[in-house]
Amino acid sequence: MAKFTRPLLGAIGLIAAVALTACSSAAPAPTETAAADAPVEIQPLVAGVIPVTDIGPVYMAQQNGVFEENGFDLTLQSAGSSSEIIQAMQSGQVQIGYGGTTGVFQAVENGIDLVVIAAASATPDDPENGINDLLVVADSPLKSAKDLEGKKVAVNAPGGYTQLLADIAIKADGGDPTKVEYVQMGVPDQPAALESGAIDSFVAGEPFGTLGREDKGFKTLANPFVELSDHAVVAGVWYAIRSEVEKNPEYYAKVAETIDVANTYALENDEELRESIATFTKIDPALAARIRLGSYGKLPLTVENLQPIADWSLELGYIKKPVDFDNLIWEP
C-alpha cells in the first residue's frame, strides 16, 4: 500500500502547496482604514470594466486615492465584454459596469433593467480627430464610405457601437450599409488583416488606429463622428441595475459623484491621464502619449448628449423603439 500511496500523497501535498502559494499572492491587501481625521466608512465597490482607454479617468482616481477619500474600496474587475459585465452584475458581485451607449440601449430593450448613472467618455470635440475612423491601406482604390458597399469591413463586435459608426458613415455618404459585409475580428488582428487584403477597411480602435496611421500609412476613408452629430456626444457610460440603485440610492449617488470628480480631474490633467492609461491598458507609454482619446468630463449626462446615438441606433435598426431617457438616466 505505502508503495503507491506515498507518491500520491506527495502529489496532493504539492498541489496544496501550489494552491497555498497562489492564495497568498492573490489575497487582496487588507483594506486600509481611512485617515484618522476622516472617519469615513469604507464600502466595497466593484466595477466591471473592459481594458480600454475609457477606464483611464476612474483608474487614475483610484490610484490617486479619490475613491478611498469618498468612502469606497474600489476594485476594477476586467471582463471581456459588456454582456459578461451585466451577467456578473446580475449575480450581485459587481455594482457598476462600463459600456458603450448602444450596447446599453440594446441590453435595456432586451429586458435588462439598467440605469445609466454617469458618463464615462464622450466623442472628441474635434470630429476630424475621431477615434473610430474607417481606415484603409495607403494605396486603396476606395474613395469614400459609399465605396464600401460589397466590401469587407472588420468590426470587433457585430451589431455593436463600431459597426453603428461605420453604418452612419456609409449611410451619410449615400450608401446602403446593409450591402457591406461586416466581419467580426478582434481589434488587435484588424491591422494585419487589412495589410494582407483579407478585409478592405476596419473601424479603428486605439492604439491600433494611431499605430496604423503612423507606422503603416493607413489613411482615413471616412470619419463617422462628423456625421454622427453637430456636437460632441456621450459615447461610453457607467450603468447599474435599477433595483440595486433604488435599494441603495445614497450609495449610488456617491458613486456617480465620485466618477464625475474623476472625469473632471482627467479633463484638466491630460498628461497624467495618458500615463494612467499606459499603466492600466499596458499600452507603451510613448504610444499612449500620442493616441487619440475621447473627451472626459466635458459633457454632462443629459438627454441631449445621448440623443444622437439613440436616434441613429433607431434609424439603422440597432434598436426597435425610441429610448426612454426619462427612465434610463438615473438622477439621485
Binding site: 498541489i15 499572492s25 449575480s91 495589410e195
Partner: protein, 275 residues
C-alpha cells in the same frame, strides 16, 4: 569490443538517444523557420517578431523589473485555478467513478446521461460560470472541473469495470472483506486508468484555464496575454505563449514522473524498463 559490434545492429530509432535527438531537431527546425520567416518578411515581423526577439523578451517577462511581478502573480493565479480544478475533479471523479463503476445496473442506468453531458464543450459553460461565480478565479475553476471531471470519471469507471472477476472471486473465497478487496483487487486495477486520466486532465486543465482567462478576463496568464494583445505589444504576447507552452511541458513531465513512480510495480511499466 563486443559492445562496439553490437551497437550498429540497432537502428537509430531504437537507441535511447533517438527521442531527445529527434525532439531537439524538431524544435530547432521550428525555431529556424520562425526566425527566417520573420527576418525575410515572409510573414510581417510587426505581427510575428523573430524568435530571437521573443526569446529575449521571455527573460524580460520572467525576470525583468517591469513585468516580473505581474507575470509571477498571473502564473500563480493560473496554477491556482489549475491545481484546485484538477484536485476537485480528481476527488469527484474517483468517488463517483467507483460508485458508478462497481454496479452494473447503475452503470447502465447512467451511461446515456454521462455520454450526453460529457461532450458539452467546457467553453460553452462560461456564461453560466460568470453568472454563478462572477469574473473570478472560481469561474475558471468551475469550467476546469467540468472539463477534467468527465475524463477522470470515464477512466475510473473503465478501471473499475476492468477488475478481473477471477481475482475478485479468489479474494472473496479467501475471505477478504469489501474494504480489503477494494484495496488489494480494485485499487491496483483502477490506478493505471486513473493515472492516465490524471495525466490527460493535467494538460486539458491548463488549456481550459488559459482559454477562460483570455476569453473572460479572469486573472492569470491568459488575461495577461489578452491585455498585451489589446495594447498592441505582440512581443510580450508571444513570449507569454512560449512560457505557457513550457508550463504545459513541465506539467506533463511532472505528471509522467508521478505516474511512473506510482505505477512502478505495474507490468506495463516494468516491461518498458526491460525493453
Amino acid at each position: 569490443m563486443t559492445a562496439v559490434q553490437e551497437r550498429p545492429r540497432l537502428t537509430f530509432s531504437r537507441t535511447r538517444w533517438s527521442t531527445p535527438v529527434l525532439g531537439a531537431a524538431g524544435v530547432l527546425a521550428f525555431i529556424a523557420v520562425w526566425e527566417v520567416a520573420s527576418r525575410l518578411s515572409i510573414v510581417n515581423p510587426d505581427y510575428l517578431p523573430p524568435f530571437s526577439q521573443v526569446f529575449a523578451e521571455v527573460f524580460q517577462v520572467v525576470g525583468g523589473e517591469q513585468l516580473r511581478g505581474e507575470f509571477w502573480e498571473a502564473l500563480g493565479m493560473t496554477m491556482f485555478g489549475w491545481a484546485v480544478g484538477l484536485a476537485l475533479s480528481l476527488v469527484l471523479g474517483v468517488v463517483l467513478g467507483v460508485i458508478l463503476g462497481s454496479n452494473r445496473w447503475i452503470r447502465e442506468y447512467t451511461h446515456s446521461t454521462i455520454e450526453f453531458l460529457r461532450p458539452i464543450p467546457s467553453v460553452g459553460l462560461i456564461p453560466i460560470a460568470i453568472v454563478i461565480f462572477g469574473v473570478r478565479p472560481s469561474a475558471t475553476i468551475f469550467v476546469v472541473v467540468w472539463a477534467c471531471f468527465w475524463v477522470i470519471l470515464i477512466h475510473v469507471i473503465a478501471g473499475v469495470t476492468d477488475v478481473d472477476p477471477v481475482a475478485e472471486a479468489t479474494a472473496r473465497s479467501y475471505g477478504l472483506g469489501p474494504l480489503d478487496r477494494a484495496r488489494y483487487v480494485v485499487w491496483p486495477t483502477v490506478l493505471p486508468y486513473l493515472m492516465t486520466g490524471v495525466r490527460l486532465s493535467g494538460t486539458i486543465a491548463l488549456v481550459v484555464a488559459i482559454t477562460i482567462e483570455i476569453v473572460v478576463g479572469a486573472p492569470g496568464i491568459g488575461q495577461m496575454i489578452a491585455t498585451y494583445q489589446s495594447a498592441g505589444n505582440v512581443t510580450v504576447v508571444y513570449a507569454l505563449a512560449l512560457l505557457a507552452g513550457v508550463l504545459g511541458l513541465v506539467i506533463n513531465l511532472l505528471l509522467r514522473t508521478l505516474e511512473n513512480a506510482v505505477l512502478a510495480w505495474h507490468p506495463s511499466m516494468r516491461s518498458e524498463v526491460v525493453a
